[in-house]
């Protein structure tokens, strides 16, 4: 062991040592900051390509000459296809970034809004609102959003409270509690469908499967009122999450206010997931596979994984929705089913890999 090395104290001495040895630190230097530009270009290219593809495909392929001349084609594009693509992007970004946040915060690679029951809670809240016919808005925000937010928040609290003993969150219990909360919530949704009148029950059914169905930009603006603060919180605590992903105690000793961060994670994740669920239904596993895919390419740094999951999630759900729109010769698939199939299989693969590390 080399004991001759010595940690110099203060910036002055480290400045001197840099001047004396200006060579770049070798392979040991963190890959993240150096590849930052290349990475961001790559991610933005993916997002741009995904946007173009999903705008281009659909019931009819995009035809620029028609778009210029035909009033109907133009209004179809701007009132239906464009808002739908934007909505898919917003939902994918929301789920991807919350997934990255929850995985880091709970130090559990299988955590995501769906597996932790956050989506389930939101679904139940939104179902209640739909069944009661709460079409009203509160200061421009639909009641359905607020009900789903409340449901998600309740689910997070229950799951977290169940799985936390003292300072330790038990990973097995966390996921099990999430599953049970999901089951209870979906049982609640079924009960509500039985009790509610026929048209509303159908509305709930259509929506719980997870479809993106949007006309014009009105609802999108309303969503953004709640989503933008949530996204901002996630970005602001990305560094704290990076430290927390390596252990709660060490993060605390590095100056992270763990309790405050915990509260912010609650609020932001239930806000974002609640609104996303209220609008898109349960779109499962996006929050799981996107952060994993990002980590495979970029490494573990949460400060990169979180924003990139946001962008890649947006692109992914746009593509998944484009697939859902075009897979059948007539009609369309629910996008929730598409992501559940892709994500479910990925989840099983991860579970198998986890077993080797016995982290769960």
């Amino acid at each position: 062991m080399d004991v001759s090395g010595q940690v110099s104290k203060g910036a002055e001495s480290s400045q001197q040592s840099t001047a004396a040895s200006p060579q770049r630190p070798g392979s040991a230097s963190p890959a993240a900051p150096r590849n930052l530009t290349r990475t961001m270009i790559l991610v933005l290219l993916f997002l741009g390509a995904a946007t173009l593809v999903s705008l281009w495909v659909g019931y009819r392929l995009l035809d620029f000459s028609l778009l210029r001349e035909d009033e109907t084609a133009r209004s179809l594009f701007f009132q239906l296809r464009l808002p739908r693509v934007v909505m898919a992007g917003i939902l994918g970004a929301s789920l991807g970034s919350v997934g990255a946040c929850l995985q880091a915060f709970f130090r559990n690679p299988l955590a995501e809004p769906f597996t932790l029951g956050v989506s389930g809670g939101g679904t139940l809240g939104a179902s209640v609102a739909i069944a009661l016919g709460w079409g009203i808005t509160l200061a421009g925000v639909p009641m359905v959003f607020l009900a789903a937010f409340a449901g998600s928040a309740a689910a997070v609290l229950v799951v977290y409270w169940l799985s936390r003993t003292g300072d330790v969150v038990m990973p097995g219990t966390l996921l099990l509690a999430g599953v049970v909360v999901n089951l209870i919530a979906s049982a609640g949704v079924i009960l509500i469908q039985y009790i509610a009148d026929y048209s509303r029950a159908l509305q709930i059914l259509r929506w719980t499967i997870g479809t993106i169905d949007v006309v014009g930009f009105d609802r999108i603006w309303r969503m953004l009122i709640l989503l933008i603060p949530g996204w901002a919180i996630l970005l602001a605590i990305a560094r704290d999450l990076h430290l927390l992903a390596m252990g709660e105690e060490s993060a605390a000793s590095l100056g992270v206010d763990v309790r405050r961060c915990e509260r912010l994670v609650y609020i932001a994740s239930s806000l974002i997931v609640g609104v996303a669920v209220a609008e898109g239904g349960t779109i499962a596993f996006v929050g799981l596979i996107i952060p994993h895919a990002v980590r495979l390419v970029l490494g573990q740094d949460v400060r990169l994984v979180l924003p990139c999951s946001f962008l890649v999630g947006a692109g992914f759900l746009m593509l998944a929705d484009a697939l859902a729109r075009t897979a059948l010769p007539s009609g369309e698939l629910p996008v929730g089913a598409v992501t559940a199939v892709i994500g479910g299989i990925t989840f099983l693969g991860l579970l198998r890999r986890q077993r080797r590390f016995s982290a769960i």
Binding site: Q6, N108, P109, V256, D257
Partner: protein, 270 residues
């Protein structure tokens, strides 16, 4: 950097002072019961005691990771709770006992987080930070581990990485919870040598929880022994490592301490 942010006024003779500390996880079961102690500037100190005697809880209180139910901790004469977290993290570093890692961060990424008290929230570490981190890894003799995922490291290697992270914080004081537990004979001794060197060259203060009593004499300046949450004895290793003291600390009449070649050896009859 550190000197500008340093908390300590030179006149405070104790870097860390605990006054009447009490702490309970459940009502009326004191895990730490009325502990007062002073840790001097530049002292290498050990905290010993039986399993469950409250050692880990006590150092968590001293490191500001928990708040006491009664009493207070002063760091350089200032109440610990009044010091902003980030500023404290530049002066006081804590090495936790177990550090389960789920995500395969590289050792370098882990050590670099030790620089976070110096980096603004939305910045990545710069090259100076990277050099500090490399230097900290080299100090504990773990430079070769830098690019390796911590999930693939052995317990001892992970322990060295955790110590390196604490050193990357450029602290005045290190608090370590059983850092030697996962280390082999050679690395245990090497860790103590590193701590002594840091004390001699930089005046770093360190408090270390340990069960390995052979390490203490003559390397350490001071030993605190706690028993059922209370401070039972304190003093130089020679004063504390005596049969009558240790038998009470460990509630075991067979504990013996003997001096040999300038070191004190401790064992219990089996």
């Amino acid at each position: 950097m550190a000197s500008a942010n340093s908390i300590s006024p030179a006149h405070a003779d104790a870097l860390i002072e605990a006054r009447g500390l009490r702490f309970a996880y459940e009502a009326d079961r004191w895990v730490v019961d009325d502990v007062s102690l002073k840790l001097k500037h530049g002292a290498l100190a050990a905290l010993i005691g039986a399993n469950g005697s409250g050692k880990s809880t006590l150092i968590r209180l001293l490191a500001g990771l928990r708040s006491a139910n009664a009493g207070e901790v002063l760091f350089s004469g200032q109440p610990l709770n009044d010091i902003p977290r980030k500023r404290l993290a530049r002066s006081l570093a804590y090495v936790p006992q177990i550090n389960p890692m789920i995500f395969p961060f590289t050792a370098m990424e882990v050590v670099l987080t030790g620089r976070s008290p110096y980096t603004p929230r939305f910045r990545f570490e710069n090259r100076l930070d990277v050099q500090q981190a490399l230097k900290a890894l080299a100090t504990v003799g773990a430079a070769h581990l830098a690019p390796r995922p911590v999930t693939e490291l052995s317990g001892g290697e992970r322990q060295l990485v955790a110590v390196a992270r604490a050193l990357a914080q450029e602290p005045e004081c290190l608090i370590l919870d059983e850092p030697a537990a996962a280390l082999d004979l050679k690395h245990r001794a090497a860790l103590i040598r590193i701590l002594r060197q840091l004390r001699d060259r930089q005046g770093m203060t360190a408090l270390m929880v340990t069960h390995d009593l052979q390490l203490l004499d003559p390397a350490f300046d001071r030993v605190f022994a706690i028993h059922r949450g209370s401070l039972l004895a304190e003093g130089s290793p020679g004063q504390v490592l005596r049969d009558e003291v240790l038998c009470r600390v460990y509630e075991d009449p067979r504990v013996r301490a003997r001096k040999l070649e300038g070191r004190t050896f401790v064992w219990s009859g089996t």
